[in-house]
């Protein structure tokens, strides 16, 4: 029997309820070069990975700033040490902006850990954070959008979590010991005794079991939580403080299935008979809007569409966070976020690349109040082709490669994203351990595109109108297709305008249709599209990409499958299966690298770019860490943020 003692951690391990969304899938986002305002994530967030994610890969050293809790942080790119080289041009044209020369980017102080400054930390500060939407409620298991996770992260603590490098870990605020059976099928967790909820009621194994049962209850609408949780066979309370997780299969990734959020049984069982969805009814509604949690912060007040206030919980058993109060301001518009930030109404927000490059230079108001954070993020912006045979174009790999040749990604990166994104080398990010260094980018080359289209039988007929045609069943078919763009996409329209013009110059007619997010998702789930553009967030394990690339995920589309374009490759299917059952890291790495190479060669997508994390934080804030998934929603994130006594503001 392997036995893991709960590790002593510097900041205490708060289970981020976000992590509890053990969804097996990547998170769909609207495309663009900015993460912008994400539409609500209907299918949750992938939180599965292998334990050794993101470390020690010699070929692609990770550039994530802090390497785990307590490690000495350094700015990820020492570029900030050359402030004298900064440009002071008032209006910086795209392409003229060089983040390496921006003195406000990745300042060392932003990443400075609290451990170095014991005794000099202001412990009664207030942190003003931004939510880009008003949450539906604050029930941890009903959360489905980023802003709901952000709030719940501070209010609830669970059993397992993961860190900035997406390594699965125990939350030793709640866990005393952990045992995994030799066959990897059962996890036995012993909880610490004396744990309580914010209202003083005891936190026990029965809360965990109640939460598991609620997540699995069909009447409770929590698809984001259920996706991973349903891979568990059962969760059982052995006694008040011992809980056993039983897996259906022994897999290296099964630890991610136990990350569901924990809600208080004594609160939610009261009205369960009348309103089993935990949502309707006066009582549930009241409890969901004034939640009782067990996390480092206690709920104080919610002013609808304005702000949510919480205060540090004095009886929190783990190491307490440094900010006494945390106030979420609800600001839906990025322009207003920047203005509020400049007025010091908020202390952090996610920036658009335009703001990052052109509105926050040394001469702007921003420079007086804030610093900027830029770090790699493992998401992927793409154009997906429908290859299921419903159109005569994209089943042919030559056509797909021609499309990539015709897509002027370097220009889009320069003109639309201000060089703040990383050109994509396929399904895995360059800094991740699955990345295959053998992949060579397909260049922008219209002549090569024309040659491939000619080979594929799409001929430009000079006698007609110049559009490419192919004779199919005796009828000439015009190369004309429609690209679906979600409305939330920040740069989708502009990207399409550039692509469209290039395609027109080689005789391909691309139309565009903008769609509201829910309609867009419904259409792509039913495979009713020819091409679509969006983005994937990253899961914590490459097994999460099974949902996007395994051929079985085509039929399951809409439930767990996300293979919208109908990609099929027997070798890829086989490799994914191997990867799922392989416990040896080196072998897994070889497997996923091969998958990455095969998929890039077949170009089922135009792999466009990976968006960087672009964040603004107030100058006084220190202790920030970033993960490949962002600034929040991992352990410890905001709980490690702090302010030096001399720089106190509130």
């Amino acid at each position: 029997m392997r036995r893991y003692p709960a590790r002593a951690l510097r900041f205490g391990s708060t289970l981020r309820s976000f992590a509890a969304l053990a969804a097996l899938v990547c998170l769909p986002l609207a495309a663009g070069c900015d993460s912008g305002k994400d539409a609500p994530e209907s299918a949750g967030v992938a939180a599965r990975t292998s334990e050794d994610a993101g470390t020690g890969d010699a070929t692609s050293p990770p550039t994530i700033p802090a390497s785990g809790a307590g490690a000495e942080s350094a700015a990820p790119k020492p570029a900030s040490s050359t402030p004298e080289a900064s440009t002071t041009a008032a209006a910086i044209l795209p392409g003229a902006y060089d983040p390496a020369k921006d003195p406000l980017v990745n300042r060392r102080s932003t990443y400075e850990t609290a451990s170095a400054a014991a005794g000099q930390i202001a412990e009664d500060e207030t942190l003003y954070r931004v939510l880009d939407g008003n949450p539906r409620n604050m029930n941890a298991i009903l959360a489905s959008s980023t802003y709901e996770f952000n709030v719940n992260d501070a209010l609830y603590d669970g059993i397992f979590t993961f860190d900035a490098e997406m390594r699965w870990r125990l939350n030793d605020v709640t866990v005393e010991s952990f045992e995994e059976s030799p066959d990897h099928l059962t996890y036995r967790v012993k909880l610490r005794s004396g744990l309580v909820w914010h209202d003083g009621q005891p936190f026990t194994a029965h809360d965990v079991v109640f939460s598991y049962q609620s997540v699995m209850d069909d009447r409770v609408k929590c698809p984001a939580q259920r996706t991973g949780t349903e891979e568990l066979a059962d969760v059982v309370a052995i006694d008040d403080l011992t809980v056993e997780y039983r897996h259906k299969q022994a897999l290296p990734t099964s630890c991610w299935n136990a990350l569901f959020s924990i809600i208080p049984k004594h609160i939610y069982e009261k009205d369960k008979a009348q309103n089993p969805d935990l949502e309707s009814g006066e009582y549930n509604n009241r409890m969901n809007r004034a939640p009782i949690g067990n996390g480092p912060y206690k709920f104080v007040r919610w002013v609808e569409n304005d702000k949510i206030e919480m205060v540090r919980w004095d009886e929190y058993p783990g190491p307490k966070p440094h900010f006494k109060r945390m106030i979420f301001r609800i600001v839906p518009d990025p322009n207003i976020m920047l203005l509020s930030f400049n007025k010091q109404d908020v202390d952090e927000f996610r920036m658009t690349s335009k703001q990052f490059a052109t509105q926050t230079g040394p001469g702007d108001d921003f420079a007086k109040v804030g610093y900027k954070i830029r770090a790699p993020q493992y998401d992927l912006v793409y154009i997906c082709w429908n290859m299921d045979g419903s159109n005569p174009f994209f089943g042919d790999v030559r056509v797909r490669r021609a499309m990539t040749h015709a897509c002027d990604i370097p220009r889009m990166i320069k003109q639309l994203c201000y060089d703040l994104v990383l050109p994509s080398h396929g399904i895995y990010h360059r800094d991740s351990w699955m990345f295959n260094p053998e992949i060579k980018l397909i260049p922008y080359d219209l002549a090569a595109a024309e040659k491939l289209l000619d080979e594929a039988g799409w001929i430009q007929d000079a006698e007609r109108d110049g559009w490419r045609h192919k004779v199919i069943d005796g009828q000439p078919v015009k190369f004309e297709f429609t690209l679906l763009i979600p409305q939330a996409s920040t740069t989708g329209k502009e990207m399409a305008a550039i692509f469209q013009e290039d395609l027109k110059s080689i005789g391909v007619d691309m139309r565009t249709t903008i769609m509201e997010w829910a309609t867009f998702q419904e259409r792509i789930r039913k495979h009713e599209f020819q091409a679509q553009t969006a983005a994937w967030g990253t899961g914590v394990d490459p097994d999460t990409t099974w949902n996007v690339w395994h051929s079985s995920s085509y039929e399951k589309s809409g439930e767990t499958g996300r293979n919208y374009g109908g990609y099929r490759n027997a070798r890829v299917d086989e490799l994914f299966l191997q990867g799922r059952h392989e416990f040896d890291h080196k072998k897994r790495q070889a497997i996923y690298r091969e998958i990455a190479k095969i998929i890039y060669d077949e170009q089922p997508y135009v792999f466009m770019w990976h968006r960087d994390i672009l964040w603004a934080v107030h100058k006084r804030i220190r202790g920030v860490t970033t993960s490949p998934r962002g600034v929040f929603n991992f352990y410890p994130s905001f709980a490690a943020w702090w302010v030096h006594m001399d720089e106190k503001k509130y």
Partner: protein, 329 residues
């Protein structure tokens, strides 16, 4: 005021109609490889009179090829010459200079992907005018028909149609259109026009109904009936011409409202599908860049303001002109 409004209206209408010849990436007239071509004029004819355009310019190779780029192929040593359109940029033509401030080559600057804002404004005027006229055409036709039936036949026909009018009036038109377009798998500008048309006919219908109730018992209508004329003949020949004049007032106000509605819808991203320009979506991209590229906000905002104002002024003037009480004083 009415005359000024009419003048501005006519200017906007002509800009809309002439858009392909005012802003085009192809030349107005040019000589290429020994032959004379007029691709922008061809585009103009094609846009306004599709069949005539095809008859006059069946095949003008190589300009019929979508991939032909005259700017690259022009060779003055061979004797090629060119007369560009007043704004020598296509509304979809992108360039390396994005978000550039107004300059001699781009009078109103460029947008995010380097498209000329003036060219987009001109083509946007076409869209706005088209939306105004077509949607009001639809709504007026429906309104006229139902209003005439209700007013002429009275009784239960009137009750039925009046209740229908009341029901349709209760719809929050803007949100109805938003909903329809949001769930529509293939949104297009034509659907916007149709939806605006079939939801805004109530004003016209009530107007016509009122007029018909007044005219139904007039002497000439009774005389026509006494002579044995059929209802259809009475409606079309005798009543309609007399009820039509005041209707123009609702038409002009309707056009103004439709232009505003289309701008709002495009601003929200559900109207005109990009990359096609409309005043609304130019304003939207201006708003997205309001901190850095203010030059994109003013042109569409002013154009929408002027367009809507001038139609309203014309409507006002028309109302004054047809109002007998005002005429007498």
């Amino acid at each position: 005021m009415g005359i000024t409004g009419l003048a501005v209206t006519l200017i906007f209408i002509s800009i809309g109609l002439l858009a392909p010849a005012l802003a085009n990436e192809n030349p107005l007239v040019c000589k290429y490889d020994g032959k004379i071509y007029a691709p922008a004029i061809k585009d103009l004819l094609h846009a306004n009179l599709p069949y005539v355009g095809k008859m006059l310019f069946p095949h003008s190779a190589p300009f019929h090829l979508v991939t032909f780029n005259f700017k690259k192929r022009m060779n003055s040593e061979r004797g090629d010459w060119v007369l560009w359109t007043p704004v020598p940029h296509g509304e979809l033509k992108t360039s390396e200079h994005n978000l550039a401030a107004p300059s001699r080559s781009h009078w109103l600057g460029t947008d995010e992907v380097g498209r000329d804002v003036l060219a987009r404004m001109i083509h946007g005027a076409r869209v706005s005018m088209m939306v105004g006229f077509i949607s009001v055409g639809i709504s007026t036709t429906i309104g006229l028909l139902l209003g005439a039936l209700a007013g002429y036949f009275a009784g239960w026909v009137d009750i039925l149609i009046s209740r229908l009018i009341e029901v349709v009036m209760c719809f929050p038109v803007f949100f109805l259109i938003l909903t329809i377009l949001a769930i529509d798998p293939r949104p297009s500008i034509w659907k916007v026009m149709i939806v605006i048309g079939i939801t805004t006919w109530t004003g016209a219908a009530r107007y016509v109904r009122g007029e018909f109730i007044r005219l139904r018992d007039s002497e000439y209508s009774i005389a026509a009936r006494a002579l044995g004329a059929r209802p259809l003949r009475i409606i079309l020949r005798h009543l309609l011409p007399n009820a039509l004049a005041p209707l123009f007032v609702t038409v002009t106000f309707g056009i103004a409202a439709a232009i505003l509605l289309e701008s709002a819808l495009s601003y929200l991203g559900v109207g005109v599908q990009p990359p096609q320009p409309s005043w609304g979506n130019i304003l939207q991209s201006g708003f997205a860049n309001m901190m850095t590229a203010t030059h994109m906000i003013y042109p569409p905002a002013i154009a929408i303001f002027l367009g809507v104002l001038s139609y309203n002024l014309v409507g006002d003037a028309l109302r004054d002109a047809v109002d007998p009480r005002l005429a007498r004083t």
